[in-house]
């Protein structure tokens, strides 16, 4: 009988298990599919769907950036470059360059933790496709801006909505690459002071 068992038992087992497996797959014909038909058939843009802590493309709120370049120091792959030039006459320090190379950034979030005033933060943007790798370097400073004072506890300025700073910089995938315009210091006096760059380890 042993041989007969070895011959017939697999048949019985396979009939039962295949029957049950087919029942499971057949039951899925009556359930709703879970596909999100990105990018066109979704109720709201995906950036609004992402959770609050989601780490998207970095953006910098220059109103509260004190130019301390703590973020540039903690970044393990040095993809943040900051230049602060001081106006010789008025000793006012100006932010003349704040670039983040999103092509190298690995969205680890260490810079956001290191920033004392919370100027740099992760937006929920992720659609940063471009045809030119040079456009992946985001230049946040167009014209020299005076470096902000660290805000007092009470009255921080209202921070712009998440993603509003970086979305115009990203533009669309087919925008041509335009080299950033060199940023000059505002020149109350006649000649421009020699620039001494501090911070931003190259």
């Amino acid at each position: 009988m042993k041989a007969l068992d070895r011959y017939l038992l697999p048949v019985a087992r396979s009939l039962v298990t295949i029957f049950d497996g087919l029942a499971v797959t057949f039951s899925y014909l009556f359930r709703r599919p879970i596909t999100i038909q990105y990018p066109d058939r979704i109720e709201k843009p995906v950036a609004d769907m992402l959770p609050e802590r989601s780490r998207g493309i970095l953006e910098v709120d220059l109103q509260i950036c004190t130019g301390c370049s703590m973020c540039a120091k903690t970044c393990p792959i040095d993809c943040i470059k900051i230049e602060v030039q001081s106006e010789p006459t008025t000793k006012q320090r100006y932010l003349t360059r704040f670039d983040i190379d999103i092509g190298k950034c690995m969205f680890c979030g260490l810079c956001v933790e290191a920033c004392p005033t919370g100027a740099i933060r992760h937006s929920h943007e992720f659609e940063g496709t471009t045809c030119d790798v040079r456009r992946l370097v985001l230049h946040f400073v167009e014209s020299a801006r005076p470096v902000a004072k660290p805000p007092k506890k009470g009255e921080e300025p209202a921070s712009p909505p998440l993603g509003s700073i970086v979305r115009p910089l990203l533009g669309t995938a087919f925008d041509p690459y335009r080299p950033p315009k060199p940023v000059e210091l505002p020149r109350p006096a006649a000649q421009a002071a020699p620039s001494e760059t501090e911070g931003g380890n190259i």
Binding site: D99, D101, G103, V133
Partner: protein
């Protein structure tokens, strides 16, 4: 068994004086220093002895110490039956790094030693199949050495991408 008892046991088996060391502030793991010529014998005893039974080679790693001009071979051992662990270390000179292979003791060591040969350049005697495991056969140099210079290109392929104009570094 505690680390010190294991060391004493090893000393009895090897019948030679061994040194037990630990980090600067007594934090981290301590290890037992084994002279290079007794390395295979110590490993075999550690595996076969009734009281030790280290049949599981957890990890075999190499640490390059150009300061003391040697390369350390670090073996983390563990015993499933006695549930205790030990760290054995030996030093290989940096000029002609040759060590005895422990493949005969643990088959797992075969690939670990091939990796140490590949990344640190330590040759192992009587290793069944010593050749590079991770890097291509004709890769110049051993990357994990402290004085390793990354070659500019390999067979005409540049090994680093120039940062796009305007990027940080």
């Amino acid at each position: 068994m505690e680390a010190s008892e294991i060391k004493k046991r090893l000393e009895e088996l090897l019948s030679s004086e061994l040194v037990w060391k630990i980090g600067e502030k007594q934090t981290g793991d301590g290890w037992v220093e084994i002279p290079l010529e007794k390395w295979t014998e110590a490993c075999r005893l550690a595996r076969d002895d009734e009281k030790l039974l280290f049949e599981f080679l957890r990890a075999l790693s190499g640490v390059d110490r150009p300061g003391e001009n040697n390369i350390e071979l670090v073996a983390h051992l563990f015993s499933y039956r006695h549930r205790h662990a030990v760290v054995l270390k030996t030093k290989v000179s940096r000029e002609n790094p040759v060590a005895a292979s422990v493949c005969s003791v643990w088959p797992a060591a075969e690939w670990y030693e091939r990796e140490i040969f590949d990344l640190l350049g330590v040759n192992f005697r009587e290793h069944p199949d010593l050749r590079r495991i991770l890097l291509p056969e004709d890769w110049p140099g051993h990357p994990l050495r402290k004085d390793y210079q990354q070659p500019a290109s390999y067979r005409g392929i540049p090994t680093s991408r120039p940062a796009p104009e305007g990027s940080a570094s």
